[in-house]
C-alpha cells in the first residue's frame, strides 16, 4: 500500500477542527495556548454550538484568541472577562458563554471578578491557562509562580519573605457555593489531552444546563518565558508544576 493510496478522503482519521481557522497563530512554537484553542474548537464543533458560543478573550498572550476560533467573541480589559461573561450569559442565556484567561489575568488583576463570578454561580465556564508567569509582557513573576522559580522580576527565584506564596485559585474556587465543576488538567501528551477535552466538554455541558459556574484550569508551559525548548518545558512542568498544582477534579456537583 502506498502513501498515495492511504491519503484519500475516506481514510481521514484526524484533522484540525474546522472552527480553528487557517490564520497563523502568533503563539511561540509548542505553546500550550494553541493546544487549548484546538480543544475548545473541537468541543464546540462536537456540541454543534458553533453559532451559539460566545468567548470572552483576555489580555495576555491569548489576546487574539478571537481571531483564531470562528465563534462570537468579546475582548475584555485585563482581568475583567468574568464580569463580561456574567452579563453576556444573563442577556443571552441560550448561548454557551466562556472566558479564556491566563494566570496573570485571572489570579492577579482579575481575582475579584473571578471569585465573585464563581461565587454567584454564573452559568459560564472559566478557562484558566496557568503557565505560572506573565508570558506576554516578557516573563515576569505572577501570583502563581512557584517557590524558587526564576523569572525576570525574581531572577534569584521566588522567595516567601519577599514575594509571598503561590496562589491556588482552583482550590479556592472549589470552596465556593456557586461552583459546580472545578477541575485541573494539562495538555502535554495524548492521554492528558483526551482527559482535558472530556473535562472541557463536561464544563460546557453543565454551563448549558444551568448548573452553576465551572472552572477548568490547564496547567501550561511558557517555553519562551521559562527559557526552555517546548520539550524541556513539558518535562519541567511534570517535574515542578504537577506536584504543586495537582491534576484532577476538585469538585463535581453536576452529576447529581
Amino acid at each position: 500500500m502506498t502513501n498515495q493510496e492511504i491519503i484519500q478522503p475516506e481514510n481521514l482519521v484526524y484533522k484540525k477542527p474546522n472552527l480553528l481557522n487557517d490564520k497563523h497563530m502568533h503563539y511561540c512554537p509548542g505553546c500550550s495556548h494553541s493546544v487549548v484553542h484546538k480543544l475548545i474548537a473541537e468541543v464546540i464543533e462536537e456540541m454543534g454550538m458553533e453559532d451559539n458560543a460566545v468567548g470572552i478573550s483576555p489580555v495576555g498572550c491569548a489576546v487574539f484568541a478571537y481571531s483564531y476560533i470562528d465563534i462570537d467573541w468579546i475582548e475584555a480589559a485585563h482581568g475583567r472577562a468574568p464580569a463580561i461573561a456574567c452579563a453576556t450569559k444573563r442577556l443571552w442565556p441560550e448561548n454557551l458563554v466562556f472566558t479564556y484567561q491566563g494566570d496573570g489575568d485571572l489570579a492577579c488583576i482579575g481575582t475579584a471578578e473571578t471569585i465573585h463570578s464563581l461565587n454567584r454561580g454564573d452559568n459560564i465556564t472559566i478557562i484558566f491557562v496557568n503557565n505560572a508567569i506573565y508570558g506576554m509582557t516578557g516573563g515576569q513573576m505572577a501570583p502563581t509562580t512557584l517557590m524558587g522559580m526564576k523569572t525576570v522580576t525574581c531572577p534569584y527565584g521566588r522567595q516567601a519573605d519577599l514575594h509571598g506564596y503561590p496562589l491556588k485559585m482552583t482550590e479556592i474556587a472549589a470552596t465556593l457555593e456557586g461552583t459546580c465543576y472545578v477541575t485541573r488538567q494539562a495538555v502535554h501528551n495524548v492521554a492528558h489531552i483526551r482527559r482535558a477535552k472530556a473535562a472541557l466538554r463536561k464544563a460546557f455541558e453543565y454551563s448549558m444546563q444551568g448548573k452553576g459556574s465551572c472552572l477548568v484550569e490547564f496547567v501550561a508551559t511558557c517555553s519562551s518565558g521559562w527559557k526552555m525548548t517546548p520539550e524541556a518545558a513539558n518535562q519541567w512542568m511534570e517535574d515542578h508544576m504537577f506536584p504543586f498544582y495537582k491534576l484532577g477534579d476538585l469538585k463535581d456537583k453536576g452529576s447529581n
Binding site: I6, L12, P17, Y27, V190, P230, E231
Partner: protein, 71 residues
Amino acid sequence: MRGAIVVDKERCKGCNLCAVACPLNIIRLTQKTVNKRGYAYAEQVVEGMCTGCTCCAQVCPDGCITVYRKR
C-alpha cells in the same frame, strides 16, 4: 492497518512535540530546509511504518497534521 500523515509545512513551527509523541519515532524536523517563516518543519521520514494512531496530530499545538488510516 496502515497510516500516513500530511504535514502543513508552512503552518508548522518546528516545536518537535509531534516527533516526541510518535510511538514509532518516524517523525523528524528537516535539517537543511526551512519553511517561509524560517522554521524547520516536521516530516514523516520512514514510509510504510505509520499506523495512523493520530498521536502526533493530537499533540500538535498548531493543528498542522492530518492523519489517514486504511485497513
